[in-house]
């Protein structure tokens, strides 16, 4: 059985896992980090999105062994010193959730969008959220939350597209 060592939310962790163990299974079942969800298990819904070496990936479609030596950040790793991450705070403020099942993946995807694109406008957010599905169809407030979270993270108003 392969031994996998990786850094999760700043902490080095080692686990003996079967080669077929998915990253999401290692996070939830070995490390008990159950904030990362399994929705569709077919790489469509994005409830399982975490960051691997700073990039958003679907942890249901990644083997744990592929992540040997990487830095993984999950939803549990965003808040610092008991203070919510600005994107989490924005989701709370704008009620960017209904049942909450998609929320961890939405927030991890949103932070990745801002890391790549900075302050983003509504059209860009809607396009970039292509890989995250909300089963309550609560997209409107999610988009508002991401826009506000992006502003809070960057300290900038969104760059409007030329057509607007």
């Amino acid at each position: 059985m392969p031994t996998v060592t990786l850094t999760v939310n700043g902490r080095s962790v080692t686990a003996d896992v079967d080669a077929r163990t998915l990253l999401v299974q290692m996070l939830r079942e070995n490390l008990h980090l159950t904030g990362t969800h399994v929705g569709c298990d077919t790489s469509q819904c994005g409830a399982c999105v975490v960051h691997v070496d700073g990039k958003a990936v679907k942890s249901c479609t990644t083997f744990a062994v592929q992540c040997q030596g990487t830095e993984v950040v999950t939803i549990e790793g965003l808040a610092q010193d008991g203070k919510l991450h600005p994107m989490q705070e924005a989701f709370r403020e704008h009620h960017g959730l209904q049942c909450g099942f998609c929320t961890p993946g939405m927030i991890m995807a949103a932070v990745d969008i801002v890391n790549r694109k900075g302050a983003v406008d509504e059209a860009t957010i809607r396009e970039e959220l292509e890989g995250n599905i909300c089963r309550c169809t609560g997209y409107h407030n999610i988009v508002k939350a991401v826009e506000a979270g992006a502003q809070a993270m960057t300290g900038k108003a969104p760059a409007r597209q030329a057509a607007e």
Binding site: K58, T61, T62
Partner: protein, 265 residues
């Protein structure tokens, strides 16, 4: 999913050697087709040979070619200043595969080796006249794609990089399935000198194909109007719950016109 043995290759030569020695092996690139397929038990390899440590990613300009390493992700191709400058249609194609998370893992080599009939990259390789470099030879795109989910690759052969000649004009337009973003129909047009190539993905029952009737019409005049009256026989096209063969035949004409319009814009 059934259990398997995981092995990580440090070099291409190492990967080839593992393919020769291991029991029932498959190569693992980004895994974004292979892992879902294994979950469904449509594939059950006994060994996975991971290529992520074999030094196959990177993008460079070599003379009049853009050369992309097999393990380069869709996100890297989409964001590459070299690709954006030389073949913007290719960067745009890569930036619309799947979704952002998929693009962070999925690779060009994996997509090409899988030859899904609805994948985007095969259309780019065919229309741009790309060459697939492998651990043992160089294969022109025309000879590489060998029907749905089939390629010219041998069992112990590894794609190392893909070389794309820089065109004068090119564009890719797809009519995506709204759920999966796979192409129901995708058309890549490219013009280089007096030669025009039109490659269609998503529609053909044998996977990606060149549309020679359109190529002849566009070689005379590279304009969407040249495609009026140029038909696409539905007999060779796919029909499924998303689109009938007749509808796909119609879409090929519409999307090809849009692609030519985008290429000359």
């Amino acid at each position: 999913m059934y259990p398997f043995k995981y092995q990580k290759a440090a070099t291409v030569r190492g990967a080839v050697s593992l393919l020769g020695k291991a029991e029932d092996p498959k190569l693992l690139a980004g895994g974004h087709t292979l892992i879902p397929t294994m979950k469904q038990r449509l594939a059950s390899p006994k060994t996975l040979v991971d290529l992520s440590g074999a030094g196959l990613s990177g993008i460079e300009q070599k003379g009049r070619n853009i050369v992309i390493g097999a393990m380069t992700t869709h996100a890297e191709v989409a964001a590459s200043p070299i690709v954006q400058q030389a073949i913007p249609a290719l960067a745009q194609l890569a930036g619309h595969i799947g979704d952002p998370h998929v693009r962070h893992r999925g690779t060009i080599g994996g997509s090409v080796a899988n030859n899904d009939p609805a994948a985007d990259y095969p259309a780019a390789l065919m229309a741009l006249g790309a060459t697939v470099h492998t651990s043992k030879r160089k294969i022109p795109a025309e000879e590489f794609f060998a029907g749905m989910f089939a390629t010219a690759l041998d069992e112990d052969e590894v794609i190392t990089k893909i070389a794309f000649p820089v065109p004068a004009k090119a564009a890719y337009v797809k009519f995506p399935n709204p759920a999966s973003r796979y192409a129901i129909v995708g058309v890549f047009v490219a013009k280089k000198g007096s030669q025009v190539k039109v490659a269609v993905t998503g529609a053909g029952s044998g996977g990606v194909f060149r549309h020679t009737a359109m190529e002849e019409a566009l070689a005379k005049r590279f304009n969407p109007k040249s495609l009026e009256g140029v038909g696409t026989p539905a007999a060779d096209l796919n029909g499924d719950i998303h689109a009938s063969a007749d509808y796909r035949a119609h879409l090929v004409g519409v999307i090809a016109k849009r692609a030519v319009a985008a290429a000359i814009a």
